[in-house]
């Protein structure tokens, strides 16, 4: 399990339930590594501000994370974390590698209004 204060998605079923029972969901799929930790930290801060968005993480190396790794939107991704913004259960935006707070808030404001 990732050592963050975010909601942890531990299975494909939990992932499906989360994105289908919340209008706006941001999932960061990564490891406890240098490119991922800053994104989790930014999400933990933004969770207080964006109360309309459910923030969650998922371990990149667990088999069920194929629900994210195998998304067509991630086909050309070569850097962790894979971050997916879901709107009504559908992928609205996906990013690869470390993202700044400005990049994340821009995506939240644009795709998860």
């Amino acid at each position: 399990m990732l050592r963050t204060n975010l909601t942890h998605i531990l299975s494909e079923k939990e992932h499906s339930e989360l994105i289908n029972s919340n209008e706006n969901v941001m999932v960061c799929c990564g490891r406890m590594g240098p490119m991922c930790i800053p994104v989790y930290a930014e999400m933990e801060e933004l969770e207080k501000e964006y109360t309309n968005v459910k923030f969650a993480d998922m371990e990149f190396d667990q088999p069920d994370s194929k629900v994210i790794r195998d998304l067509p939107e991630c086909r050309n991704f070569y850097g962790i974390p894979f971050v997916i913004y879901y709107k009504n259960g559908k992928v609205a935006k996906a990013t690869s590698s470390i993202q700044s707070k400005e990049q994340i808030t821009n995506n939240l404001d644009t795709y998860l209004k």
């Binding site: 240098p34 490119m35 930790i37 800053p38 930290a41 801060e45 050309n76 850097g79 690869s96 470390i98």
Partner: protein, 317 residues
Amino acid sequence: MQNHFDIIIIGAGAAGLTAGIYLSRAKVSTLIMNEGTVGGQMVLTHQIANYPGIESISGYELASNMKMQAQMFGCSIRANVKITSFDLEGETKKVIVNNKDEYFAHAVIIATGGRPRSAGAIGEDEFKGKGVSYCATCDGDFFQDKEIVVLGGGNSALEEAVSLTKYASKVTIVHQFDNFQAFEHYVSDAKNNPKIKFIMESKIIEFLGDEKLRKIKIQNQKDFSIFEMNIDGVFIFIGYVPNSEIFQNIIELNENKEIIVDKNMNTNLPGVFAAGDNIAKRYRQVTTAVADGTIAALSAAEFVNNIKKNVQFENTI
């Protein structure tokens, strides 16, 4: 949260957290504020194996321990804030974050650290995570049996180039000079690896592709000729730049934009100290940042104590 402190520390990497630990333990009221994640460049390091007394620890864990230790002694920490303005020249220092929250202190320690230097080539941002990477341990496994470039000629570049040969079929090191800045054993490891090739005295000037990186343009730095190379990935390890831009018109910097300090970490402004990777020095390690942070904390504490003593003295006469 209160908004008056004895000392404000800007930056929560190894230097800033160490200063926070020392000051809070000495009952000096201290606020650490940080624009990014607590831990600075420590969290960009997978494994630290040369921190004295600790056999091996992840950068994230070491940073978390330092943060907990500082908070345990009563240090306040505000992370992920944007420093929007400040006044460091008066007797009372003022720092404003997020355009609204004002904080005041007798002294400030600037410990804003550094950040990985980008190549500055066209298309670099566009292909970040789509072929351009800054972390071999994070992204190396995406390049199984692929051809990649490592940009740089220092210790990180040479060491990571060798480690990336576990995955890649071919690793080409592109370096702007005709010799390497890395330690000799890193250079010989790379030269002895059959998967590694070298393009010296050259720079990447453009990243090209569609949905992912496909090729790069390389420019020779002697005759300025340009050629294209088909490539699956580029890992960039070309050093660090100090996070000092916001202070450049107030604090004295050298030609590399590093903050100039004396042996007690004093900057040119009274009551303003600096520590860590943003100061002018030769070696940048967690241990040197910790040492800088310690000196800055002790110097700043002495500065604040003298102010308080003078106020007491004035009140008695």
